[in-house]
Amino acid sequence: MIRRSLASVAKGAVGPADNDSRYLLDPHRRGVPNVGRMARYADGDLVDLAIVGAGAGGATLAQRLARKGWRVVVLESGPFWDPDRDWVSDEAGAHPIYWTAPRVIGGDDPVELGKNNSGHGVGGSMVHFAGYAPRLHPSDFAVRSRDGVAADWPITYDELRPHYARVEAELPVSGQDWPWGDPHRYTYAAHPISAGAARAKDGARAAGIEMRVGPVAIPSAAFGNRPHCIYRGFCLQGCKVNAKASPLVTHVPDAIEHGAEIRADAHVARVEIDARGRCTGVTYHHGGRERFQRAAAVAIAGYAIETPRLLLNSTSARFPHGLANDHDQVGRYVMVQGAPQVAGRFPELLHMYKAPPPEISSEQFYETDPGRGFARGFSIQTVGPQPIAWAEHVLADGHWGPALREYMRDMNHWFTLGALSELLPVPDNRVTLADETDSHGLRVARMDYTQCDNDRANIAAAKATLHGIWDAADAQDVLTIDRYAHLVGGCRMGARPEESVVDHTHRAWGVPNLYVADGSVMPTQGAANPALTIMALASRLAGLLARKQA
């Protein structure tokens, strides 16, 4: 109780005690300033941990362990971004921040990748994530026990709770007091909302649905040297302001300050093992050459497609079907969320491209409701498409030619709501290797995805709810698009090696010094955007590793 009241008095002033990233940034330029004095390890140095991928999982793990004195190298396939120099405030121009190397998609309901869910470079997918930072609900960790579908996690919500709170303070997250799941507060107050979000909120209220402002990983007041949001609306194109959180601004500066090396443009090709089946380091491509970094342990944080791909490409006599793949589990149970969007039209100009897309959300339908006839649920959120995304939305509703142009000319009168439907993990929704190879000669990933009946029922209910909100708001017209969002699973954690890839400590079954530190370990995904959970998991893993070494 005392902690709670202190937090509410100190709103807008509480910063994390053990992460100085916000002060290590420069208020007048966006690039990470301390990169010039970053530690550099030689390939032959036996570092304590080699981390593959500098996104939500890898960067958080590196920052935590660097603070504990570990010698850490993070190998990132993409560039070390300088937002001033490398990013543009433009939709089409954001192409380089997405993972656009070749991949193949299949199944009955293929998932479009690239800008929809796949990042590239230091900061990972959070560079282009909208900014929503909700927690999972406690029920997410026991879906099998409660609903008889999907899987239980080998850990509980309580084990993640302190890490959620810690990461929320580091990003930081702004929002109203949160009533759903495990009720909690945010240290930063809610942002102002746009005219369109206010329309949506009114419509939701009339339909009996509560929406709250946030939770969004953009501070609503001063936060070290990070400037205030300018409500430009280009969150999905990379924040040139340094206002929106991504590991590039929230964890990388502090990691570097404590001795971690972030080695960009270093594409890891294989994790190597010795005769005893222990990792010895990673083989990677850098500067046109193949190199090898020695490491006492390896943590893979390449996300739900590249992590399984790396394991599957790391074959050996001991692991002929891919590292840690004795039970054919690597790449299975990959998940996306159903993310239909419905736009509503109003008399006044709403300019939906203004302000960050994440404004208000509801988790009122998150949990299983037996009356709905399917397991689990969905959340509702605002989205603020820029012109190209809006054109894709209009096209998806069936309009091209003169009709497309007319709906596009009408853009300023529209506002868009989206849902996130929890789709269930299915073994045949999986990442495998395609026959074609990338520019390094490595086999590329193929991702197959097919919805199950529960998924279809969930998405249909979510869509109907969005239509209900716009009906209640007296929208003059509506336009609908079916799509997916986010990616998790593919190397899930579990209690037994026959049904998972890593154990409850993220350690790969069968390889004692190999860890997976990203969203691919998630056995279920809830109806929450995954970024905060991925960071909280990495934060917890860092605590386990540090304790083990001590």
Partner: protein, 241 residues
């Protein structure tokens, strides 16, 4: 329509025939800057007047789109077919036109793909080549030589995934439609002329926005809707239509 945009009567789904009114008859001509075909829903708005306030990296990216790149990937006869197709699906029936196919061709030449390929589809550059061939096939030889009604009928079938025979037996039409339209829309709505037409604020960095309320007009981004055609300037002999 009379430009009463508070009502939604001009929107296709709200009209009995499901089709929009002709913008040429109902909208004023663009008075500042350019829009595709000069339709002026925001006739006095030119996003490029803001360009001097954009950060230099963004400015150079956006302004460079005003120069159509030369064709480097597609062969001239493929380009002729596909150029007509792009203009048809975007209703670009008059000058000035956004050079959509040239912008697409540049991406194909540079192999700037989107990071995924459907398992039952070829790579995106090959998809474009086959779509050109497929359109010419269903047109009986030359898509671009058909009349407008016949071309629209072909596109209607393409959008519905109902093309078959020849190329289309190997190339699933609904997948192909989604691939080519993704490129078409990304090119057209990246062009500042299209932003003028829809009253989009453009990059807005580093200035940002300060007014989130309804009907807000930002300082320096005064996209104000037209209310009717201008009886003085929007006459038949008052310049290009």
């Amino acid at each position: 329509m009379e430009g009463h945009f508070r009502s939604a009567g001009h929107l296709p789904k709200q009209r009995e025939d499901g089709r929009p009114a002709s913008p040429r008859d109902d909208l004023p001509r663009q008075r500042r800057g350019s829009t595709p075909q000069d339709h002026g829903r925001y006739p006095d708005y030119d996003v490029l007047e803001e360009a001097r306030h954009w950060d230099p990296v963004t400015r150079s990216t956006v302004v460079s789109r005003l120069q159509a790149p030369p064709l480097r990937f597609l062969a001239p006869e493929q380009a002729r077919t596909l150029s007509m197709f792009c203009d048809d699906v975007l209703a670009q029936d008059d000058e000035p036109r956004v050079p959509v196919l040239a912008m697409v061709d540049e991406r194909l030449h540079e192999r700037r793909f989107d990071g995924y390929r459907y398992a039952d589809m070829p790579e995106d550059d090959e998809t474009w080549v086959r779509v050109a061939r497929g359109l010419d096939e269903v047109a009986g030889g030359d898509y671009a030589a058909l009349g407008e009604q016949e071309r629209i009928a072909i596109i209607t079938a393409f959008a519905a995934g109902e093309l078959s025979g020849g190329v289309w037996d190997e190339l699933p039409p609904s997948r192909a439609w989604s691939v080519v339209m993704r490129y078409v829309l990304a090119a057209f709505y990246a062009h500042p002329w299209a932003w003028n037409e829809i009253g989009f604020g453009g990059p807005r960095y580093p200035r940002g926005y300060m007014r989130l309320q309804p009907d807000a007009v930002e300082p320096g981004a005064g996209a104000v809707e037209a209310f009717s055609r201008d009886p003085v300037r929007d006459t038949a002999d008052a310049g290009p239509r």
